[in-house]
Symmetry: C2
Subunit: 308 residues, 2 copies
């Protein structure tokens, strides 16, 4: 198998593009796909301050790496979730990456800063583990970006993640969620702009990139993720993909191209207010994070004297 670009021995095959690449060319191709994503959705400009949410996994570290490489002003944000060895190891690898690249890592710890960790939240809250973890991440990422004065939050969601999410929402015809799934979520009052520069790249490709770049990342899945429906959707997509390479990309990129415009016209606009407890954006009186946190900690949210 020879590199489609330079003819040298190839190290990775990208079946859906019917192509293969050597390590050096794959790095270029990978960077080009990220650049194309940034450009297509006007994700950020060279001067912008970017905060990339890094978990210690292949996707987010690959993203940080490629953005640093491209010369962007990009810091990392590590959120300690308190999931035992898994979290400890994730933190160590993330810090090691930052140190090796001379990059800045902002660290927030859920237990220290908000009074609970994910195992506790899963036990005491009413949400599933993955739901409360997702809620906590979205909240903390946004707060950290606001506090640090960043222009944009970048996450490592790849093509497989996006296709699985879209499949799950489509199987339920959850019109609002489908309409709002996008590689970029515009800033709103109290909400920092969010972007997913890896949406054109598959999980296999981000893993290959991280491997070829010598990035030491946490290989194991989160130990709390067993039975996660997202993983089931990924498996279903992979089963189809293995027989029809390109299905995943066709599904998600085709959605962006042909599906999204249809759903967007059907979606309802929501008005945002400020959470009466923390001030972050919400559609209700209190934001979902504050309500969830109060429930986990067994605390009561302050009474709201006047109706909004």
């Amino acid at each position: 198998m020879k590199c489609t670009r330079c003819g040298a021995a190839a190290v990775i095959e990208v079946r859906r593009h019917n192509a293969a690449f050597c390590g050096a060319c794959f790095r270029v191709v990978f960077g080009n796909q990220v650049a194309r994503a940034i450009d297509e959705y006007d994700m950020f400009a060279p001067g912008d301050r970017i905060l990339v949410a890094v978990s210690g996994g292949k996707d987010s570290l690959a993203l940080w790496d490629v953005l640093l490489d491209a010369g962007y002003r990009v810091d990392g944000l590590y959120l300690g979730l308190g999931i035992g060895d898994y979290s400890d190891r994730s933190h160590v690898l993330t810090q090691a990456f930052a140190d090796a690249r001379g990059a800045t890592l902002v660290t927030v710890d859920l237990a220290d800063d908000f009074g609970y960790d994910i195992p506790t939240a899963a036990r005491k809250g009413s949400r599933s583990t993955c739901a409360v973890c997702g809620l906590s991440k979205r909240y903390v990422f946004n707060k950290a970006a606001l506090d640090g004065g960043y222009d944009v939050i970048a996450t490592g969601h790849n093509l497989d993640d996006e296709a699985a999410t879209l499949l799950g929402n489509t199987l339920r015809w959850n019109i609002g969620y489908i309409a709002r799934q996008s590689p970029v979520l515009a800033a709103e009052p109290g909400l920092v702009r969010k972007v997913k520069p890896l949406y054109r790249l598959s999980e296999l490709e981000t893993a290959a990139y991280a491997f070829l770049r010598g990035i030491d990342y946490v290989v194991e899945e989160c130990p709390l993720v067993a039975g996660n429906t997202q993983l089931r959707y990924k498996k279903a997509m992979n089963a189809i993909e293995s027989r029809s390479p390109g299905t995943k990309a066709q599904f998600f990129l085709g959605y962006l191209d042909r599906g999204a415009p249809i759903f967007r016209t059907a979606d309802e606009q929501v008005d945002l207010a400020s959470c009466a407890n923390c001030g972050q954006a919400t559609t209700g009186t209190y934001c979902a994070f504050c309500r969830s946190r109060a429930q986990i900690l067994g605390e009561r949210l302050p009474e709201v004297a006047e109706a909004r």
Copy 2:
């Protein structure tokens, strides 16, 4: 396990409804689901002449059975596809069913009446086996219904069929196909109304119904179907369904409820004309069936003197 309706010993469990039924009650429940489908989409009225397309498989024979049972004026239509023993056996079982019920079976043979069988079409035509078979069926069903003066054509498509078709079209965001997928296709000039009264019932349920009613049907898959993408979509749906019972129904029925209205507004209307060769409805000069048949038989379609 006890029957949810009468408390007797159950013979079938319907996990997505969290219910189980004895044979007698399942027959009632099955009939009720068909009645609900007919009612919800105004599929046909008691006096209408119905032509049910019967392949010899469980779905179409179950449909014929339940419609006869409900007192409808319903004849069967068997189309001989010339797929060796598989077709011979299908014809024998279909005729035996008709004889046992004292029902009328109309038989059309693709080779006798149109000059080719499916194995020949697959070899000589440019379409895949399943594509040319589907095209031939749609054409012959419509022609037989027109010729026989029937009001409506009913096919045995079940929930699994519809969910798999919807998944395939959604993975490609084929907006027009998604928009037009419906349990009922209204009559148009030259096109007889088409309905799918089993769309609320799963493959497992139609199989159970056929078994409990003692219907002798062709169990084996069509021998030409290997590698069919529809089967892959069914497998993917079943993998998700086994862990989350109800996903399939939620996907297809949810589409009808919430997705279809959105897609319908996005779909383009097409104008139908008459095929210059056979007179059936088409969007072009010649219908797809006539073009396909001419290619298979190595014939030329007559020149069209004047532009339409």
